[in-house]
């Protein structure tokens, strides 16, 4: 047991955000903390990291209260990556990661052989070896985030807490960081807790999800939370619904025109998405229909609409024609 909380209440003097939390984190686990904006994710993270006092109860890290550990002892057990994009001045990747050895080095921060090994290991395990000697200011956001993770790893903590580590990244980089963190948890035997807004990625990577909504925290495998409906109700809001069979959120549109789609494979999947975006509901039988005609070297889209038959070479052309013909297709 790396982290446990006893009857923890979090919040500020005037406002309790959540109370009676009895949470645990095991070694080797990746846990994603999910919740809407304002649900209190950051408050929980800050309380668990000992940066903010709990209103009640205790947070135990390897058996000791995080509020009682001095900064150096805490830094050897807990590594933190914050949302804020730290402007680090002129430091190389190596020097930045070496700062993670702070709780281990002497007053001149001289690196002993074991410190050097820890720094190199940390850089290697986030796949940033080729960046080692680059100035941090020249890195992309994704590279910089990896390096910040390496810096926390160099502290060799039992627990790593990351507050929205993917917030400023593009989609491929988000996936990369999430899978990287999952592998790190598995391979290094550390517990990793992160907060994120990326529901889809969290569902795919997390061993466990902590779902914070309306002052209560639901804990379980992501699949448990999906099946129990906790996920859907936590993020329910007007016009958006959680599709349990796809594991994704959909924007609801009123007045959808039924259309039939024939064809198969990936092409069918993506054509259906385009039609749905355009304001149609793909059904098994309807007056109007789209046929996907796949030949060896090309794909064509045949549209039977209001008794007229036309053919298009791209989904874009198909949707554009539907928009012109019917006025049904809504621009999104």
């Amino acid at each position: 047991m790396i982290l446990e909380t006893h009857d923890l209440s979090i919040g500020y003097t005037k406002k309790t955000i959540a109370s009676r939390l009895n949470l645990t984190l095991q070694a080797g686990e990746l846990v994603c903390l999910l919740g809407q904006n304002g649900a209190g994710k950051s408050t929980l993270i800050r309380t668990l990291a000992g940066m903010q006092p709990p209103l009640n109860g205790r947070v135990l890290l390897n058996g000791d209260d995080v509020r009682r550990l001095d900064a150096r002892a805490l830094a050897r057990r807990l590594g933190v990556v914050l949302t804020e994009r730290a402007d680090v001045g002129m430091l190389s990747v190596h020097d930045l990661v070496a700062l993670g050895r702070y709780p281990y080095t002497d007053w001149m921060s001289r690196l002993q052989p074991e410190d050097k090994r820890a720094v190199n290991r940390a850089i290697e395990s986030v796949g940033a070896s080729e960046l080692t000697y680059r100035p941090v200011s020249e890195l992309s956001d994704g590279e910089r985030q990896k390096v910040m993770i390496a810096r926390a790893l160099a502290q060799e903590p039992a627990l790593m807490i990351l507050d929205e580590p993917t917030a400023f990244l593009d989609l491929p980089r988000r996936a990369e960081i999430m899978f990287l963190l999952r592998d790190l948890a598995r391979e290094s035997g550390r517990a990793i807790l992160l907060s994120t807004h990326d529901l889809d990625l969290a569902l795919r990577t997390a061993d466990r999800v902590w779902l914070l909504a309306n002052g209560t925290l639901t804990d379980g495998a992501p699949e448990d939370l999906v099946l129990s409906g906790a996920f859907a109700s936590a993020f329910q809001s007007e016009g958006v619904s959680f599709n349990i069979s796809e594991g994704a959120f959909h924007v609801q549109r009123p007045q959808r025109t039924p259309i039939c789609l024939s064809g198969d494979g990936v092409t069918r999947l993506w054509t259906a998405r385009a039609l749905e975006r355009g304001g149609f509901e793909v059904v098994d039988s309807a007056v109007d229909r789209v046929e996907i005609i796949t030949q060896t070297d090309s794909t064509r889209f045949r549209l039977h609409y209001a008794g007229v038959l036309t053919e298009y070479e791209s989904i874009y052309a198909l949707i554009a024609a539907l928009r012109d013909n019917s006025g049904v297709v809504q621009t999104s």
């Binding site: 940066m51 150096r72 807990l78 700062l99 993670g100 702070y102 007053w107 001149m108």
Partner: protein, 360 residues
């Protein structure tokens, strides 16, 4: 295997660059120091200066007096003051995470000015002759007043800086503190006597020539203590590069480190302002020049580099102010502004864009 082959050349390369820069800066300081002894309204040959410094007599008797009583204390003062202001500026830039911070810009020199004004103008107008009989007590009083003034402003800025990190807000704050102390000083002047007012106004022009041999032990001891304290907090300063929250998460005792950094920078800024007047721009410019040369913000090398370069630039600024061979003496503050202001402009323009430098 990869560890060793990659690690060695990197460390070696980086540290040899750092060593080279520090050695070059040391040689620059020696040269500037020698030049400042040799040049002035009268040029004295270097071999004569060496003789005089070794305890011998110069080729002319007046040269011995000039070197021992005027140029040597002035050069030592300039070197120490330049080092102190630059290190103080570096500490503030890191602590406030603000590239334009320095004792002058943030109004800390203004705080020191107010302290000095209180001592010089009020004690005089109250008829207490602190300066005539009890010189050492007077000096101590002056340093204390300037340091307290500097520390008070530092404390105010430190408290506000925790809430607002915006570069622009802090700079405006410094400006306003400057105006407020300025107006308090004018009120004091209004009730003071002409002699003391003249003393105070001369002091505001800035000079390295005001420290006498009897004051030198105190002046240099305080600055050396400040510089050593600064070096002692080099490790937490490096962690502060990532901001306070990260620093704490990496094991920095933030409260203690903050107090150490604030104390060192106010003592350094306070003592220099007390003895030499408010001297602008060295504190903001030198740390940037050092980081460019060193290509790193690592305080373990940036601090000694800033001290060495600050000392040299102060000596050079003083030599320019003397106008070698001429009888004219320019205000020291004008020269340091001519050196420092372009660096500040460059810092602002070289940040990725203007908005970022004033909002991040």
């Amino acid at each position: 295997m990869g560890e060793i082959t990659l690690e060695r050349p990197y460390s070696a390369g980086v540290w040899s660059r750092r060593r080279t820069v520090l050695i070059a800066l040391s040689m620059g300081l020696v040269a500037a120091f020698a030049a400042s002894l040799a040049l002035g309204s009268v040029s004295i040959p270097l071999n004569n200066i060496v003789t005089i410094l070794m305890g011998g007599e110069g080729a002319r008797a007046s040269w011995t007096t000039i070197v021992m009583n005027f140029r040597l204390p002035k050069a030592i003062t300039a070197a120490l003051a330049g080092a102190a202001l630059s290190v103080s500026g570096l500490l503030m830039q890191t602590l406030f995470r603000n590239p334009l911070a320095d004792p002058y810009v943030l109004g800390i020199s203004s705080g020191a000015s107010l302290g000095v004004a209180l001592v010089v103008l009020v004690t005089a107008s109250a008829g207490v002759s602190l300066f005539s009989g009890l010189t050492l007590v007077g000096d101590v009083g002056l340093i204390t007043a300037a340091s307290i003034g500097a520390a008070a402003v530092m404390a105010v800025i430190a408290i506000i800086a925790r809430r607002v990190r915006h570069t622009m807000t802090l700079l405006i704050l410094g400006l306003m503190i400057g105006y407020m102390t300025g107006s308090l000083v004018s009120i004091l002047i209004h009730f003071s006597i002409p002699d003391r007012i003249q003393t105070y106004i001369n002091w505001t022009f800035g000079t390295f020539g005001g420290v006498t041999w009897s004051q030198m032990p105190l002046f240099s001891a305080v600055i050396l203590i400040g510089l050593l304290t600064a070096y002692w907090v080099a490790k937490p300063l490096n962690a502060f590069l990532l901001g306070e929250t990260y620093a704490r998460s990496m094991g920095v005792d933030v409260r203690r480190a903050r107090i150490g950094i604030l104390a060192a920078s106010s003592i350094l800024a306070g003592v220099v302002t007390a003895f030499c007047g408010p001297i602008g721009f060295l504190g903001v410019a030198v740390p940037h020049l050092c980081r460019i040369l060193l290509r790193t913000s690592d305080h373990r090398v940036a601090l000694p580099a800033a001290a060495l370069m600050g000392a040299s630039l102060a000596l050079i600024a003083d030599m320019i102010a003397q106008v070698p061979g001429g009888q004219v003496i320019l205000p020291l503050n004008a020269i340091t502004a001519l050196i420092g202001a372009p660096v500040v402009v460059w810092v602002i323009l070289s940040r990725r864009n203007l908005r970022e430098s004033f909002s991040a």
